[in-house]
């Protein structure tokens, strides 16, 4: 094959590849570049006593009180803290939408999981494992995202998250039931496990703000420099006074 013909063939292949990238919106940089951030969220101050939530209805099944400790630690490491990168633009995160399905189950008159993370475009699947009626009312601020009943043995319901923000989950029938889903417009978010660890993958290089939210401890922010390659490890420590407010 003559050189000129081969070059034209290669050019056409590159053009087709470029066209595919443009048409599919595939963002090479978002997939292949970026460093993982790992670490722990730490609090070593006094742990407040657990909340004794009075059950207002269905006491035969739910009990008369529900004991709940929102601040769960293991050797100072905090569970259920949401760690996210702030200020990333939508361009960086294009086509990293996961469209995942997050399960939110009413079980033993408690939302499980109580603290969740999600991305815009993901779905929340609401279930009810209890032998009684629950309504699951998810709000963003004062606006209802969804408010649905699931009766005993009722079929699950899915709802797509359209807006980022802190979604508050309540049951209007059982006022002691409460949970949160923190929804983001990007995938750079993690929730700490039982040992307080988190991992955020493929964070673009640069100076970012790392933000931590915990139901009891509140919000903490710190700057973090992410290199083009290599790992970043960081422990984020809440001050002792975080539970005294």
């Amino acid at each position: 094959m003559p050189d000129s013909t081969m070059r034209i063939t290669v050019d056409i292949q590159l053009a087709i590849l470029a066209l595919v990238i443009v048409l599919t919106g595939y963002d090479v940089s978002a997939q292949s570049i970026g460093a993982p951030i790992t670490g722990r969220v730490i609090f070593q101050g006094p742990i407040p006593p657990p909340n004794e939530l009075k059950v207002n209805i269905d006491q035969g099944f739910c009990g008369t009180t529900i004991t709940h400790q929102p601040l769960q630690t293991q050797q100072g490491s905090v569970r259920d803290a949401v760690v996210s990168i702030e200020g990333l633009t939508a361009e960086v995160t294009t086509d990293t939408t996961s469209q995942a399905v997050h399960i939110l189950t009413n079980r033993q008159c408690v939302f499980r999981s109580r603290i969740g993370i999600a991305q815009v475009g993901d779905q929340i699947e609401i279930r009810n494992d209890d032998p009684l009626m629950h309504n699951t009312h998810i709000r963003l601020g004062e606006t209802t995202m969804v408010n649905v009943v699931i009766v005993k043995n009722g079929r699950p319901i899915r709802k797509t998250i359209q807006t980022p923000g802190m979604l508050e989950v309540k049951c209007d029938k059982h006022k002691f039931m409460q949970g949160y889903v923190l929804a983001f417009a990007h995938p750079y978010v993690s929730v700490t496990d039982t040992t307080g660890h988190f991992e955020i993958s493929h964070v673009p290089a640069g100076l970012h703000t790392l933000r931590v939210w915990h139901e009891t401890l509140g919000v903490l922010e710190t700057d973090i420099e992410v290199p083009t390659t290599g790992d970043v490890t960081i422990d984020i420590k809440y001050p002792h006074s975080s539970t005294s407010q």
Binding site: N56, I57, N147, P156
Partner: protein
């Protein structure tokens, strides 16, 4: 033939009658400033001068049109209302709260709907996707149907808010636990007083309210409790209708 309760997923074309031209919006604005502003406010936030007197300390307050959650819809919970939903509410009013505006011509009502929709960007960015439609007429209100409806009323635990006697004094309400999304206390509807039903009192209105819920209020959507096709919703409707001595307004 059984009633077909369809929960359909269709890309809904909004009302053909809605005119978004500058002229229509200008006419809509003129009507809004004449007829709606006193409750709903200049910017549509439900904070007009009459809103304070209408309901300062309890819900429902005048609708805040900048928020996307609407109580009176034919769409699933969390979605915007259709233009027809807005037209129905403006035409019929809300008993005890908002007068019917059937005195406006149909064109005038569509013009004011076009203007109201400019208050929330959601109407520009989101589409109405999922309608809840009732495609077959109600079942006859036989004693058997009413009895089955009462059983469903208990099984679906409507009584926890509306009460065993359906007067709106269920245990969750009497404990003071029912609040709207702004935190104001809200009273469940007295189901024995048909003319007070805010979302309408026809069989279709009642079925729609049960299936869609009232976003912004504690009343949830019961759509998942009914399979499709399903005729049992009409038993519940017949039971609710049987509770009132008053006739449909």
């Amino acid at each position: 033939m059984s009633l077909y309760l369809a929960i359909t997923c269709i890309a809904t074309s909004q009302a053909a009658k809605l005119d978004r031209s500058p002229e229509a919006l200008e006419k809509g604005a003129t009507i809004y400033h004449r007829a709606c502003i006193f409750c709903h406010g200049i910017a549509g936030k439900g904070d007009g001068p009459a809103a304070f007197f209408a309901s300062s300390y309890s819900a429902p307050r005048p609708k805040d049109f900048t928020r996307k959650d609407y109580k009176f819809r034919s769409t699933i919970s969390g979605e915007l209302p259709t233009d027809q939903d807005l037209f129905r509410t403006i035409t019929n009013g809300i008993p005890g709260y908002m007068p019917p505006f059937e005195g406006l011509t149909e064109t005038e009502r569509w013009n004011v709907i076009a203007y109201i929709k400019t208050f929330s960007p959601a109407f520009q960015t989101e589409h109405v996707n999922t309608l809840i439609t009732l495609e077959m007429p109600p079942r006859p209100a036989t004693s058997d149907s009413i009895a089955r409806g009462r059983m469903m009323y208990l099984e679906l635990e409507c009584h926890v808010c509306h009460g065993l006697d359906a007067t709106g004094h269920g245990p969750v309400h009497t404990q003071g636990d029912l609040k709207d999304n702004t935190g104001l206390p809200i009273q469940p509807t007295n189901l024995t007083n048909l003319p007070s039903f805010k979302n309408g009192a026809s069989p279709q209105d009642i079925a729609r309210t049960i299936l869609t819920g009232l976003d912004g209020a504690p009343m949830p959507s019961y759509a998942s409790a009914f399979s499709s096709p399903d005729t049992s919703i009409w038993h519940m409707v017949n039971y609710v209708l049987s509770l009132s001595t008053a006739t449909q307004p």
